[in-house]
């Protein structure tokens, strides 16, 4: 047996079904070992695509996604994927080929110091120097990627190591003396939280990705219902608590609902459950929930007090923490608070005009209606992403897959391919912009060849819409570098790949076309929605400002340039 064969045996033992990969010289021994394996290789058309597929796979089913690429450019092409997974705590294993050990550090052909290059965007990484170490490294990598706060792990394997003879154990001990996973939740911390909650009149539960990752959905629901506390979610928290539930305020933050952002300015207690107080939510820290008690549950000790100084904290798994918390809280009288929120909901609903051209919101909301919300939705990044977050309500964990922390354009479509493989029985819809889709659309081949019934909904406004919106609102409409005039005909493009395609140009056609597309399951299909070119996402809290500065429609006067990051 050689190293590569041992590696593949170990991947099989870990229960790996798919490897998303792209070959090359320094990784040929490993591809050779796949030849005899029951693991299915999904050949992408670009390594970035492979990395987002693995990411989408992992987000959809919770198991680490596995990527296999060659050295040099093959490895560097996965950096965006690693970064995306790292920012959103997604378990992923990237295995890269490398030049032979005697040539390491000598600028050999296709030698990239991927161990060094990737360091800031991995949870951990390895450069394997002994063939016999491979099983241990792999076992550790899976353990690290999937436990605690999940994240990507890189394993760089020189070609002579994968090709070299293997004489070690396939079931070695792990050697991770420094790896710590938080244990049981400290009861005293929970009691302190419960005490503050029990004295609250206007509580607000803020749920983030941590709640999704820990599968806290059902206990979260019990908690919210017992307390009669309103629940709002971050972009990545979608699905932890059903957005169709009467206590749900939908998404919060920069493009969250008006009533959730208003609740933020009025609550007397906010409990973050696996959300890291991202700057999309509390743009201006000094003005954030002033006077409210702030509580935080997070599995990562480094998130505690990083952005917001809290009155009570609990380090641990969100589900376990909520199970304990549920025992110690009492039903609250939140009727006046819920009435206030209901009034805001009536006064400032999410809205758009169905007349005056085809609207992205209309298309997306219709997709939600046509499917009854029963779908795994992946998105790309931009306006369509925010509209999807607003109008495609999410009721279940692991059915909303979006690049939040990194905001990676090009993510949505390949992630849908991974999700479809993870959940073959589910309907998967990729909602993408015309800009981002063009970054990874070469994966149409991958979807077509594998006959994956992914629905690709291209929201084509012929602009880099989100940037155009900022230029319109903050930069006197001086449009610079956002015009995508000259887009391909996406229907013809899809057909060139052998992909079924539909077109929507008029509001009257939306339902008919969507119904047809949803019924098509022989392979991927693309729906080209040619929407109005210049529309804006509202509500909007300008970057760096507090929720008090939220606008719900286009202001008549010019706005100040935002002080926060993009």
């Amino acid at each position: 047996m050689n190293g590569a064969e041992a590696l593949i045996k170990c991947l099989e033992k870990e229960g790996v079904e798919y490897i998303f990969g792209y070959s090359g010289g320094n990784v040929i021994p490993i591809f050779d070992a796949i030849y005899d394996s029951k693991i299915k290789l999904i050949l992408s058309r670009h390594e970035q695509g492979a990395s987002h597929m693995a990411d989408g796979y992992a987000r959809a089913c919770g198991k680490p996604g596995v990527v296999l690429v060659t050295s040099g450019p093959g490895a560097t092409n996965t950096i965006t994927g690693l970064f995306t997974a790292h920012m959103d705590s997604v378990p992923m294993i990237v295995i890269s080929g490398q030049t032979i050990t005697p040539l390491l550090g000598k600028d050999a052909f296709q030698e990239a110091d991927i161990f060094g290059i990737s360091m800031p965007c991995v949870k951990h990484s390895y450069l394997v120097r002994q063939t016999n170490d491979l099983p241990r490294v792999l076992k550790e990598a899976f353990h690290i990627a999937a436990t605690g706060r999940p994240g990507p792990v890189l394993i760089d394997i020189p070609k002579n190591i994968s090709a070299g003879p293997f004489e070690g154990s396939l079931d070695p001990e792990m050697d991770l003396p420094g790896y710590k996973i938080p244990g049981p939740v400290p009861k005293a911390d929970i009691l302190k939280m419960a005490d503050l909650i029990n004295r609250s009149e206007r509580p607000l539960l803020l749920v983030g990705h941590g709640a999704v990752i820990s599968r806290a959905g059902s206990v979260l629901r019990q908690l919210a219902e017992k307390l009669q506390a309103p629940v709002t979610n971050t972009l990545l928290g979608k699905g932890a608590f059903p957005e169709t539930h009467p206590l749900s305020l939908g998404m919060i933050g920069m493009h969250g609902t008006a009533y959730s952002n208003m609740a933020l300015t009025r609550c007397d207690l906010i409990l973050s459950i696996g959300s890291r107080w991202d700057d999309r939510i509390n743009g201006d820290n000094a003005q954030f929930c002033v006077g409210a008690k702030k509580l935080h549950i997070d599995i990562d000790p480094a998130e505690i007090n990083k952005i917001v100084r809290c009155d009570a904290v609990c380090i641990g798994d969100a589900r376990l923490a909520l199970e304990e918390l549920l025992k110690h809280v009492v039903p609250l009288n939140t009727k006046p608070w819920l009435r206030e929120i209901a009034a805001n909901r009536r006064k400032f609903p999410l809205k758009y005009k169905k007349q005056g051209g085809l609207k992205a919101q209309h298309v997306i909301e219709s997709a939600w209606e046509v499917t009854g919300g029963k779908a795994i939705v992946t998105t790309d990044v931009g306006q369509h992403q925010m509209w999807a977050a607003q109008f495609f309500l999410t009721d279940e964990c692991d059915t909303w897959l979006s690049s939040g922390g990194a905001g990676t354009m090009g993510f949505g479509f390949p992630a849908a391919i991974g999700a479809q493989l993870a959940k073959p029985g589910s309907r998967v819809i990729a909602i993408v912009g015309d800009g981002g889709f063009q970054m990874t659309l070469c994966e149409l081949s991958t979807a077509a060849i594998n006959k994956l019934p992914v629905k690709i909904l291209v929201i084509d406004n012929k602009f880099l819409g989100m940037v155009r919106q900022w230029q319109e609102l903050f930069f006197d409409n001086r449009l610079s570098g956002v015009d995508l005039e000259g887009n391909p005909d996406f229907v013809k493009l899809a057909e060139a790949y052998g992909v079924k395609a539909f077109r929507i140009r008029r509001a009257a056609d939306i339902r008919k076309v969507l119904a047809k597309a949803m019924a098509y399951n022989e392979g991927p299909c693309l729906i080209h929605a040619e929407v109005v070119k210049e529309d804006n996402v509202f509500p909007m809290v300008p970057a760096g400002r507090s929720a008090h500065h939220m606008i719900v429609e286009r202001p008549k006067t010019k706005m100040e340039k935002p002080t926060g990051g993009t």
Partner: protein
């Protein structure tokens, strides 16, 4: 000419890590990304050769340091990290100072050295290399006294620390 290593914002971390390639870079990354300048750094194997001890002295605000400390502790290669800024510790560093000394001033320099319990480790007609050990303040004081003769070169190890008594470093 000496850098002051006694600033009030100076923090000392002791980090117990796997003795493996790449670990130093991981730790250094955590500081660099947050704009913290490492003032001094000592890395050496511990009694158990599988692990190393890093003593890091860095200048910056306490809140950022708290974040750095947590991020360092989180690294898979870090077994534990301790902040020693306000703790009871023994701290030592060693400095080699090459001083320009003509014959006429030699006695004077040797007297200064005697006061700091230093030693001469190299002698030439124009210069002398002295060695001083002690805590940072003592080294600063000695360097200060020798400055007027003309310091040609100064090399400091950076401080190492150890918690007193039963406390673990």
């Amino acid at each position: 000419m000496s850098t002051l290593l006694t600033s009030p914002n100076l923090h000392t971390l002791s980090v117990y890590v796997n003795n493996k390639p790449g670990v130093l870079v991981r730790v250094a990354h955590v500081f660099a990304r947050r704009g913290f300048n490492i003032e001094s750094l000592v890395v050496s194997p511990t009694a158990d050769g599988r692990y190393s001890r890093m003593t890091v002295t860095a200048d910056g605000d306490g809140e950022t340091l708290e974040q750095i400390f947590k991020q360092v502790s989180k690294l898979v290669d870090v077994l534990h990290a301790t902040e020693h800024t306000h703790q009871e510790v023994v701290e030592k560093e060693l400095a080699l100072i090459k001083v320009r000394v003509a014959e006429a001033q030699r006695t004077e320099v040797l007297q200064i050295l005697a006061h700091f319990k230093g030693a001469t480790v190299d002698f030439t007609p124009q210069s002398v290399i002295v060695q001083v050990t002690g805590n940072t303040e003592k080294i600063e004081a000695c360097v200060g006294m020798l400055e007027k003769y003309g310091i040609i070169e100064l090399v400091r190890t950076g401080k190492v620390i150890m918690a007193r008594g039963e406390t673990e470093t």
